[in-house]
């Protein structure tokens, strides 16, 4: 493979890793709220978080484009306050990957949290531990396999995302072009050999992530 291809793979992996890091705190917080709290609006949050899983990715992308564009609600604010532009930059790539992979993490982590026996959290309360300490020392360690499996799945999802990315980040070589966008582009240009090579690389990465994730989930049941 050429150095250009290695750069492309490196860029895509970095974007996926960044988006996974971004998604982790948000995803775990949402998963915990869904698993442990009873509140009004819970069903709404559940739906909103799951939506990117079933919505056509380009539609999610379109929504993000409108929201984060310079005239969009959040885009204008970010531009005025921080001077940050999101759309058609690498930030848009991370944003699109994060939104698209969030549901996978939330679903896996929520199940993992729900499987933790509340008796452990309750006994920790009688031992004087605050809720934050309980989460870090009891809930999270006991749910670690499920959380890790969900994180891997989210990372794998981010590696291969196409539809939302192309909408908000476009295809600017060296700046926003990811692996899957390149595969599409190569096929359009008739360069099938190249496309197959890159397709093979993404398949391998996805395969490894899913195997690792499955292994973690099975191990928990045993």
């Amino acid at each position: 493979m050429s150095s250009e291809e290695w750069q492309l793979i490196g860029f895509t992996a970095r974007m996926a890793a960044l988006s996974t890091l971004m998604v982790l705190p948000v995803g775990l917080a949402v998963a915990w709220c869904l698993a442990r709290l009873q509140w009004r609006g819970k069903a709404l949050l559940e739906t909103v978080v799951t939506l990117p899983l079933v919505l056509p990715p380009v539609v999610t992308g379109l929504a993000l484009l409108k929201l984060f564009g310079r005239r969009g609600l959040l885009g204008r604010w970010l531009h005025q306050v921080f001077g940050l532009d999101v759309i058609f930059t690498w930030r848009a790539v991370v944003l699109a990957l994060a939104v698209m992979s969030l549901p996978l993490l939330v679903r896996a982590a929520r199940t993992a949290f729900e499987e933790v026996d509340r008796a452990f959290e309750q006994i920790a309360r009688t031992l004087g531990a605050g809720e934050w300490r309980i989460f870090l020392t009891v809930t999270l360690p006991l749910a670690r396999r499920g959380v890790l499996a969900g994180t891997l799945l989210a990372f794998a999802r981010a590696l291969g995302e196409f539809g939302a990315t192309i909408m908000v980040a476009g295809n600017i070589p060296g700046h926003t072009t990811t692996l899957s966008v390149t595969v599409y582009q190569q096929v359009q240009l008739g360069d099938d050999a190249h496309a197959w090579l890159l397709a093979g690389v993404s398949a391998c990465l996805a395969f490894l992530a899913v195997v690792a994730s499955e292994y973690l989930v099975r191990g928990r049941k045993r």
Binding site: D117, A119, F120, Q122, I123, A124, R125, T126, L127, G128, A129, G130, R133, T137, V138, P141, L142
Partner: protein, 362 residues
């Protein structure tokens, strides 16, 4: 200043039972209050309310000068701030932490050296040396129980709450640990509330007894009083032991022990009781045989001259309250009772075989 728990409250589940308890109070630092009843009677819910893990809908819970819960004042002190030691039924040891880390969990705010000293002391005190690095799933039931106690006690709680502390253990271990737990509770001098459905446990460990049935308190009093004088048939059924009499072991030889009960001496079987031990003598009413007139030789080791106090007919069965130097109850069929022609004031002999006299050490 007395540091006692005083609670009257109701926990109402939205689609289910109501649990009501009134005037639950401990009496002094060395006292053990037993919540006794069948499963589903609400006793665990009461314990969880005392721990702050459930919030009642009505009433109040006070401990010493502190108010832990007040329905009208909307006061609710979280479990973190109650300084209690809670040991749930299955112990709930953290499965991902070693024995030492489990025990240290509740004293994380201490400095490292002090914490290590305290953990070491607690481990030695409860005989858990050598197990520090084990995980809970590598421990026996008895060891788990002691780790759970250690984890609760290291915080020096002002109130100890134990939910069926012995029920997760197998028979022989339970017998051994019952004695250990009794010694421990005596040593600790922390007021304790203990939940159990086992009458032997209630007798061996309790001072005050609260009998619960269907979410309500049906009788309360000293353990001895409630077990020997149930006020209702329901309670009699729940406690299921008609005669309970404090006594003392006089001598012990070749598996036979002689115990003093009132002015009478009774013979029972036991290999491990030493002379001088305080015991509860338990006799089930159906094990008491009544003989009228002069009895010639008979096999039961215990023959007591008794006076019939009263007879209560319950269907085909007659419950007879007797008096020797201590109250004794017998159950006969109506027929047998008529053939013996028993009336209050009659003098008869009560026979009980040695194995049917059950001794519970105190």
């Amino acid at each position: 200043m007395s540091q006692d728990i005083q609670a009257s409250f109701a926990k109402i589940f939205p689609d289910g039972p109501q649990i009501r308890v009134d005037e639950l109070r401990s009496s002094g630092p060395a006292s053990t209050t037993v919540l006794y009843g069948a499963s589903g009677s609400g006793k665990t819910t009461v314990l969880r309310c005392l721990a702050g893990l459930e919030r009642p809908e009505e009433g109040s819970i006070r401990f010493g000068e502190e108010t832990w819960f007040e329905a009208h004042g909307r006061i609710f002190v979280s479990p973190q701030r109650r300084r209690i030691g809670f040991v749930p039924q299955d112990y709930a040891l953290f499965p991902h932490l070693s024995v030492a880390h489990n025990i240290a969990y509740g004293v994380s705010r201490m400095g490292r050296t002090e914490r290590e000293t305290q953990v070491g002391e607690t481990i030695r005190w409860l005989g858990l040396e050598g197990l520090e690095r084990r995980r809970p799933d590598q421990l026996s039931g008895g060891q788990r129980q002691r780790v759970a106690l250690a984890r609760a006690l290291i915080r020096r709680p002002q109130l100890l709450l134990l939910d069926e502390p012995l029920s997760a253990l197998d028979g022989p271990t339970r017998l051994r640990l019952r004695g250990d737990l009794r010694e421990l509770l005596k040593q600790l001098r922390i007021p304790t509330v203990l939940v159990t459905h086992d009458r032997t446990e209630a007798l061996a460990l309790g001072d005050q007894l609260i009998v619960m049935d269907g979410g309500r308190v049906v009788q309360r009093g000293s353990v001895h009083e409630v077990f020997s004088r149930p006020t209702s048939l329901a309670v009699a059924g729940i406690v299921a032991m008609e005669t309970v009499q404090p006594g003392q072991v006089l001598e012990s030889a070749e598996g036979l022990v002689t115990v003093q009960a009132g002015r009478s001496k009774l013979v029972s079987l036991s290999s491990h009781l030493r002379p001088g031990s305080e015991v509860y003598i338990c006799i089930r009413a159906e094990d008491v045989i009544l003989v009228k007139g002069q009895s010639s030789l008979s096999s039961p080791r215990n023959c007591l001259p008794v006076v019939v106090r009263s007879l209560t007919t319950e269907g085909p069965i007659v419950r007879i309250d007797l008096d020797s130097s201590f109250p004794l109850a017998a159950i006969l069929t109506k027929q047998a009772c008529e053939e013996l022609d028993l009336k209050p004031g009659d003098k008869v002999m009560a026979l009980v075989k040695a194995p049917q006299i059950h001794l519970i050490p105190r």
